[in-house]
């Protein structure tokens, strides 16, 4: 009983021990915050990566692709038809986008041109969730858009030529010329433009300025099919924007009608990618390898089959590596706290040498004396890590409020959503990670008290009583 009594009494009277509690607390809180933020980031990133990609991607090795997509689709169905929800062929190329910025000037950007059927694409990924319209005057949020390339008639009528045309008699000889002008200004083919391509972020006002508003014409240059590619050009009208939150995609991708792209390249029917959406809960790796085997049997060395995770492997692995390194570095904080406990405890043991002698003279056993200090260490660790856990979880819970407050105080944005593309700091508290951190801190606290406790236990009663 005396162990608990003394443990408790020492805890209440040795304020120096608070220092070690605080260091354990800070270590635990930091680790919980960092892990939650990292987990939040990587989960959010995975979600977005997965959202923009389908579950499984079948690509041809050559950019030109293959002209028998129906056969390939049939082969995929045959390989894993019962596990597949939807399939969507696409044609993916690299090229340049010329975005008019007024005064005859163009902004030229390297882009990934993706020819799709938007309804199909929406079935295999979260494509449709990421489509937005340009907000109207006074609208704060971006209104969601339908997955379609349809160019509304009003775009044409809103042009200068359209304005005149509306006031012109249809039988007027100039009407035809005006119609032609309108078709020139607003091409019939729609385009979904990556949000970061079509807008410029203004940090001062925190606004996105639309440099390619809806209805504007964007010119795409891309290589034609064939062994010696030639530059081809297509003109498209922006009908909506693709905003996934992954800046890599939002600043690179433009979606156009696949048939139009095939036609412009001079290869009708060719596609170079098939996106596969698996049934929920299906084993993606297994399906991918089933598809791979079937395709290889039919058309050896023509297709590359990968799951979305394999395709984004290096990026996901990089995030994981980053998290691991941070964890290793941060566990040093707790290790430092451990050495703090070691030092403070050794000091307390020396200070309590006489008391230890008294306890032994009164019949306390070596293990009992050891128990006092081990229990003391455990209690310090417990209090420190529980307070640290509470603090860490509260910090995570209110991290965005804290970020706002810090931004106000320092006068600059701590977490700039223009850089990270997330409106808020994403967090995810994983109970298992928290348990590991708290358990690890406890273990370190107890481990650090083993040596001082052992020293106390080994003290000779007579020598300790005489200690001055």
């Amino acid at each position: 009983m005396y162990k608990y009594l003394l443990c408790w009494r020492y805890l209440r009277t040795r304020y120096i021990a608070l220092a070690s509690i605080i260091s354990v607390m800070l270590g635990v809180a930091t680790m919980i915050v960092v892990n939650s933020v990292m987990a939040g980031f990587s989960t959010m990133m995975e979600e977005r990566l997965h959202g923009t990609l389908s579950d499984i991607i079948v690509e041809s090795f050559s950019l030109n692709g293959f002209n028998n997509p129906d056969e390939v689709l049939a082969a995929i169905e045959e390989a894993a038809g019962d596990q597949i929800d939807a399939l969507a062929p696409s044609l993916q190329l690299f090229g340049y986008a010329m975005i008019p910025v007024g005064g005859g000037e163009y902004l030229t950007r390297e882009v990934q041109i993706i020819g799709v059927r938007p309804e199909d694409r929406a079935r295999v990924s979260e494509f449709a969730e990421y489509l937005v319209h340009q907000p109207r005057e006074g609208q704060a949020d971006l209104p969601p858009a339908e997955p379609t390339f349809h160019v509304p008639e009003e775009f044409r009528l809103n042009t200068y030529a359209g304005q005149v045309y509306q006031r012109t008699d249809p039988d007027d000889p100039f009407a035809d010329i005006l119609l032609e002008d309108m078709a020139n200004l607003v091409p019939a083919d729609g385009m979904i433009l990556g949000y970061a391509l079509g807008t410029i972020h203004r940090p001062e006002s925190d606004e996105d300025l639309f440099i390619a508003p809806e209805g504007s014409k964007v010119i795409l240059h891309f290589p034609s099919a064939g062994k010696t590619p030639e530059a081809k050009t297509g003109e498209f009208t922006v009908v909506s924007y693709f905003k996934s939150g992954m800046s890599e995609y939002d600043s690179m991708q433009v979606f156009v009608p696949i048939e139009r792209l095939q036609f412009l390249r001079g290869q009708d029917g060719f596609v170079n990618q098939i996106q596969v959406k698996a049934r929920p809960g299906a084993d993606l790796e297994a399906i991918a390898s089933a598809i791979r085997l079937t395709l290889e049997r039919k058309w050896p060395t023509r297709f590359l089959v990968s799951t979305w995770e394999q395709k984004q492997g290096p990026l996901l692995a990089a995030v994981q590596v980053e998290q691991n390194i941070l964890n290793i570095l941060l566990s040093f904080i707790i290790a430092v706290a451990g050495f703090g406990i070691l030092g403070i405890f050794s000091m307390i043991v020396v200070e309590k040498t006489k008391d230890i002698g008294i306890l032994k003279a009164l019949g306390a056993s070596d293990s009992g004396v050891r128990g006092i200090f081990l229990g003391y260490g455990l209690t310090l660790g417990l209090v420190g890590s529980l307070v640290g856990m509470t603090g860490g979880l509260l910090f995570v819970r209110y991290i965005n409020e804290i970020e706002d407050a810090l931004s106000v105080m320092t006068g600059r944005k701590v977490f700039d959503d223009a850089i990270y593309y997330f409106p808020e700091i994403p967090t995810l508290v994983e109970p298992l990670t928290v348990a590991w951190i708290v358990g690890g801190a406890l273990l370190i606290a107890v481990a650090a008290s083993v040596w001082p406790a052992q020293r106390a236990a080994r003290m000779h009663p007579v020598k300790s009583l005489r200690y001055e």
């Binding site: 056993s365 007579v462 009583l465």
Partner: protein, 236 residues
């Protein structure tokens, strides 16, 4: 009648550099039950060492210690701890109270050491009552909640006496119990010990260098040059 406590050929030497310095050199001692024995001797004669050996706080180089005819110096750790806790009550010159605990808690300490948390908590009322009556007995019922820092030397020694008796020992070993007290207080403490010795039929070994104190004992032995000799002081 067999002696309550006896030692045979107890020897102990300390090392000073390379040379062993003998302190006790074959001490033979017999104490009867209920006897109050005073051990006198000059400073550094080994009185405290002898007391520590008897109280199993230290180990002798050679020799044996018997309690009720049973040898106790060769017991294993746990049994030694139990004897220190329940059979011997120790009183020190410098009181040796735990500064974090109140007077009452200090008195409770031997019982808290003996009992596990469950039995301690289940018996805490009776244990507490016992400790309070011990504090009453030493005249400190009004000081129960005070910590050692708030007590005078005499009061601290009374608490230490109450603590030594808390676990119901049969032998009390007192090492210069009045050595740190003024003459009046020392006499009071000594009278208390004498009374307790009679009331409870406690075997008491009292180490002192003060002959006036030794005079209150039933018997006095002198420790000189590592050996004990019967001694009948001539009191002026």
């Amino acid at each position: 009648m067999d002696p309550h406590l006896s030692t045979v050929g107890l020897s102990k030497s300390y090392r000073k550099g390379r040379d062993p310095v003998p302190v006790l050199d074959g001490v033979d001692l017999e104490v009867d039950r209920g006897e109050l024995l005073a051990i006198v001797g000059a400073s550094g004669s080994g009185k405290s060492t002898l007391l520590h050996l008897i109280g199993l706080l230290d180990a002798a180089d050679s020799g044996r210690i018997f309690l009720d005819g049973r040898r106790i110096d060769d017991l294993t750790g746990r049994k030694r701890d139990a004897l220190r806790n329940g059979t011997f009550g120790l009183i020190f010159q410098f009181y040796h109270l735990l500064p974090e605990l109140s007077a009452l808690e200090n008195v409770l300490l031997p019982l808290a050491i003996r009992l596990g948390p469950l039995s301690y908590l289940s018996q805490r009322r009776s244990i507490r009552r016992e400790a309070e009556s011990l504090l009453d007995r030493v005249g400190l019922s009004h000081r129960r909640t005070h910590t050692p820092g708030e007590l005078s030397g005499g009061e601290m020694q009374r608490v230490a006496i109450a603590r030594a008796l808390a676990a119901g020992p049969s032998v009390v070993l007192a090492d210069e119990p009045t050595g740190n007290l003024d003459a009046n207080t020392g006499r009071e403490v000594l009278d208390l010990l004498r009374d307790l010795n009679r009331e409870r039929r406690l075997t008491m070994i009292l180490v002192t260098h003060d002959l006036a104190i030794a005079a209150k004992a039933d018997r006095v032995v002198r420790l000189a040059e590592g050996r004990l000799e019967e001694w009948s002081p001539v009191f002026a």
